[in-house]
Structures are given as C-alpha cells and as structure tokens.
C-alpha cells in the first residue's frame, strides 16, 4: 500500500461524486501526474431519473412540472422550451397572447439572472473566493421572491402552461420587479469589484480551458461556452421565439475562449437581461390584462408529427424533440437536448494538461446542472 501511495507517477483520483465542487453528483476519474491532469473521464448518470420515459407516459400538461426538475436552477426556461415545443406541434405558436409571451420572456430572463447568479456564486467559491457566494444569493433571493409572488413557487416553478400562462402579473409585481432592476446594476458592480480586475482571479481564469471556435462547434457547445469562443450565436437571435424579435439586446462574445472570457460573457449577459426586463416592463403596459391563454382543448392531442423547439436557457440551447403519434394525449417520444450534457462532454479535452485546481475552474465555467445532464 505504501508503495502505491508513494508511486505518484500517474495517480488516479476519483473526483466526485461526493466532492465539494463537482456541482452535484458528477464524477470525474482523473489521471494525474503530480498535479497535472493526464486524462479525465467524466462519469455521469447518478441523477438519472428516466424523465424521457416518464414523458412518454403522461399527458402533455403533466410533463410541465417534470421539466422543472431537469435544470432545477433554471426551471422557467425548461418550462418555456417544453410548452414551446408542444405549441409548435399544435401549430398555435402564433395564437399565444402577446401578454403571455411577454410574461414568459420576463420569467425566462429573471431565471437567467438567477441561474447566472448561482453560477457566479459557485464558480467563485470553487476558485476560493467565498464572499461573492453570499452577495449573489442575497440578490437571487429577491428574484426568487418575485417568482414566489408570481406563481407561488420559488425554485421549481411550473409557471407556464401549454397555450399561455396561468397567472397574470399585476402592477405591484411590476413595481417590485422595477425596484429589483434598480438595485441590480450596483450589485453586479459589487461582484465585479471582487473579481474582474483582481489579479488572482485573472491568474486563475485567463488562459484556462481554452476552446477554439472550431472546437466549440465540433463539440456542439452552446451558450456562454460557445459565445466565449467568439461565435456570436444565440437562439434568441437566430430563431427568435416569444417576443425576442421586438427586443433590443446585444450578444456578448469573448475573444480568447478561456474561462475569463466566459466569465465576462455571463456578466454581460446579466446586464443585457436586465435591459430586456426593463423593455418588457414598458411593453407589457400596452397589452390587455387577463389575456393570457390561447384556446387549447383540455385534452391536448396534437396531430401526428414531430417538432424540435429550442430556447436559449442560461446554460445554452435547451431543445425538446417531440414525436406525436396523433392518437394519444401523450408524447410518443420526447427527447431533451440538454445543454449541460453536451457542454460537459467537452470536459476531457478542456482539462487535459491543466492542473487539478484548473479542473475545478473548468467545471465551474461550463456551468453544469446534473439534473439536466442525467435527466
């Protein structure tokens, strides 16, 4: 035993599934030489719940709460993707009332803020800066309060329905949202004062986990990992859904494709989300109150066909691929294209040659949620 312990040449470490910084139950078998990573092999599936199988066995409205459990830190966007796919299948995408669409955008963008705040918290604490964690949670709490006021739940929202929205927003809620947006910029600046220019933070992130644009496309990356590599692509822009075509926002892209660029991208995305929310607050004033749902029959039974619909969730492209057989009120097959799963598959390439400490940074910068990876 002593012999093998001292034989440091290519030691194998099981990084996870119970590890402080694997963001859940990810397990990475890492082969290290000293502290340098020779090979890494992610092992997933510890949180597999068979969601796709469940989707095949329950009717469409019942699936919506289950989508909350995929990406449990960004459930509004998961809802949005699923109901969007079913609406596309039903062919009622255009009939959704504008007010419902705006509310969806607001929820999705709030969810993006909350998810990115959680990402910042965990990413920073992975790299040893523990204080941003508490600051971001302070602001995230306000977002969760907004969710609670809107739909009654804080985390697993189940806030969207096929054909529209169940609840309406009132002036009080919009005021609360505006108040939150008012303080949000200052809060972002506060986080950035701890990290962005900090020399230790930059040393830990600049040049770590570099993805070239070609590799990013080859690996199928989406979301900030793709944009950090300099590819200006966002589903909100490429396939505008809801009311995104009417909104003015910019897509931040990085230059070098390293961890620091992805960090900057996400910070800027939060600022853009705030801008979108501000536009939504003014836009929603022009719509009729209570006009929230398109006409959808109680039993949803789309005609035979298949549809793929994707939304830009905080982690990247979240797609739902639904095959309907036209006979049953449930999906014949519903496949989820989770961004975390695809982004995580690039991990071995990203960490090879780096140190153990950098792997933590890379896992943090990919921003995975294991509920989504394992489904």
């Amino acid at each position: 035993m002593t012999q093998t312990m001292l034989n440091l040449h290519e030691m194998e470490i099981s990084f996870g599934p119970q590890h402080p910084s694997t963001h859940g139950v990810l397990r990475v078998m890492v082969k290290i030489d000293g502290e340098r990573i020779v090979d890494a092999k992610p092992i997933i599936g510890y949180l597999h719940r068979g969601t796709e199988k469940l989707f095949e066995n329950m009717n469409y409205p019942q699936c919506v709460p289950h989508t909350d459990r995929l990406d449990y830190v960004a459930s509004a966007t998961s809802n949005e993707g699923f109901v969007g796919a079913v609406e596309k299948l039903l062919g009622i995408t255009d009939q959704i009332p504008r007010r419902a669409k705006i509310i969806r955008v607001m929820l999705a963008e709030l969810q993006r803020l909350s998810s990115h705040l959680l990402w910042l918290a965990t990413h920073a604490i992975d790299l040893g800066a523990m204080t941003p964690f508490f600051y971001t949670f302070r602001e995230r709490e306000l977002i969760l309060d907004l969710f609670e006021d809107y739909c009654g739940a804080r985390l697993t929202l189940n806030c969207m329905r096929i054909g529209g929205q169940a609840d309406d927003v009132n002036a009080q809620w919009l005021q609360k949202l505006a108040d939150f947006l008012g303080i949000f910029d200052a809060a972002l600046d506060e986080y950035e004062s701890l990290l962005t220019t900090n020399r230790i933070w930059r040393k830990r992130t600049v040049g770590i986990g570099v993805i070239t644009p070609e590799d990013a496309i080859d690996w199928g990356l989406t979301g900030p990992p793709l944009r950090g590599s300099g590819i200006e692509w966002d589903i909100r822009r490429a396939f505008p859904y809801e009311v995104y075509s009417d909104l003015k926002f910019e897509i931040p892209v990085g230059r070098n494709g390293d961890t620091y660029d992805r960090y900057l991208c996400r910070m800027e995305e939060m600022r853009q989300s705030k801008k979108i929310l501000e536009q939504c607050v003014t836009m929603i004033a022009d719509t009729k109150e209570g006009d929230l749902k398109a006409k959808v029959s109680r039993v949803i039974r789309p005609a035979e066909g298949e549809a793929y619909f994707s939304v830009e969730c905080p982690k990247g492209e979240l797609g739902y691929y639904i095959i309907a057989d036209g006979k049953n009120p449930n999906a014949y097959r519903c496949h989820v294209r989770p961004p975390s799963f695809v982004n995580l598959s690039a991990l071995p390439d990203l960490v090879k040659g780096h140190l153990v400490a950098d792997m933590v940074a890379v896992i943090g910068t990919i921003d995975i949620v294991l509920g989504e990876v394992d489904r």
Partner: protein, 182 residues
C-alpha cells in the same frame, strides 16, 4: 458585442489597486445591514399564492376526480361510492366521497390539482402559506381527507366565505355539484 477585460494601468497594478478595491468592498459590507433571517424566531412571510401544504374541503368536493387525473405523479387516491338518499321526498342517487388520500411526501407542489379543481372556491388548494411539513415518520405524510382538512396549524375557517377569503376570491358563488344535487 465583444466583451473584454477592463484595461488596467501598470501603476494601478503596482499599487495593488485591484486587490484594494476588493478589500474595500468587503470592508463596506462589514458595516451594512445583514440579510439573515433568524429562522425559528423570524420567518419570511409567504406570498399570497405561495404553494404550500394542502387544504381540502369535504363540503366543497364534488368527487369528480379531475384533480387525480391532473396529478402528474398520481398521488391523489379517490374512491367514490354511490348512495341512495331521500332528498325532498324523492329518492336520489348521489355520489359520496369514500376516500380522498394524498401522498404528501411524494408531492412536488405543482398545484395542477388546484388548477384542475372545478369548484369555486376550490376544494383542494395549496395557498395555506404553510411550508413546515417535515415529519419524523414518513407515514405521517400520507394523509387521508380528514387529515388534509384538519391538520395541525392550519389556518382556521368554517364558512364558505372564509374559504373564499383564504383563496382570495372576492365573491363566493353558489357551489355547483353537491349543492345542486340536494
């Protein structure tokens, strides 16, 4: 839109300004108001439509089973019997709820059952503002209709108006279903 690192002058780096700004942030935060809510003494108020513990009303329920059908994880168990009863001198068959159980421990509080409930005010609703549901025994969280209606710590109500007030309905309408059948 290309995001780039803010440019820092070498003098700033020499004077460790990047580190000092961070120190200044934490120092200022040291004197600010804290956000901790000390839980058992203070609780965060729940919003009006917070989805918490169930409440069931036997009086309102019309035994239509729609909630059980809407439930994504099938944790609502309903048995409905029929009974002949004399109403206004006529013999009439009416539906009787024999069993209404919810396996609360498995519930994910999606409130689809509440949404599906056709009565007004709802016969099953989650807006009781109660979230302290932990139990030492998992069996305690399998609740029958009496437990669902009279659990400890529930908000008090006795009349239809009060239920309506609890659910935020301003004008309580006459109930369909049971009221009509009598």
């Amino acid at each position: 839109m290309l995001v780039e690192a803010p440019k820092t002058k070498w003098t700033d780096r020499f004077l460790l300004l990047d580190l000092l700004t961070g120190l200044r942030t934490t120092w200022r935060e040291l004197w600010r108001k804290k956000v901790t809510v000390e839980y058992p003494e203070n609780r965060l108020p729940t919003s009006d439509n917070f989805r918490g513990m169930f409440r069931f009303s036997y009086e309102r329920c019309i035994a239509c089973k729609i909630c059980a059908m809407a439930c994504p994880i099938e944790i609502i168990y309903i048995d409905v019997g029929e009974e002949t009863r004399e109403v206004d001198g006529k013999k009439k068959k009416i539906k009787v709820l024999n069993r209404y159980d919810i396996d609360v421990k498995r519930c994910m509080f999606c409130s689809l059952c509440e949404e599906a409930c056709p009565t007004k005010p709802k016969s099953i609703w989650l807006t009781t503002g109660t979230y302290e549901l932990a139990s030492y025994d998992r069996n305690e969280l399998y609740m029958n209709m009496q437990q669902l209606e009279y659990w400890e710590g529930r908000p008090e109500y006795s009349t239809l108006e009060e239920i309506a007030a609890e659910q935020g309905i301003t004008e309580a309408k006459a109930l369909p279903g049971k009221g009509d059948s009598k």
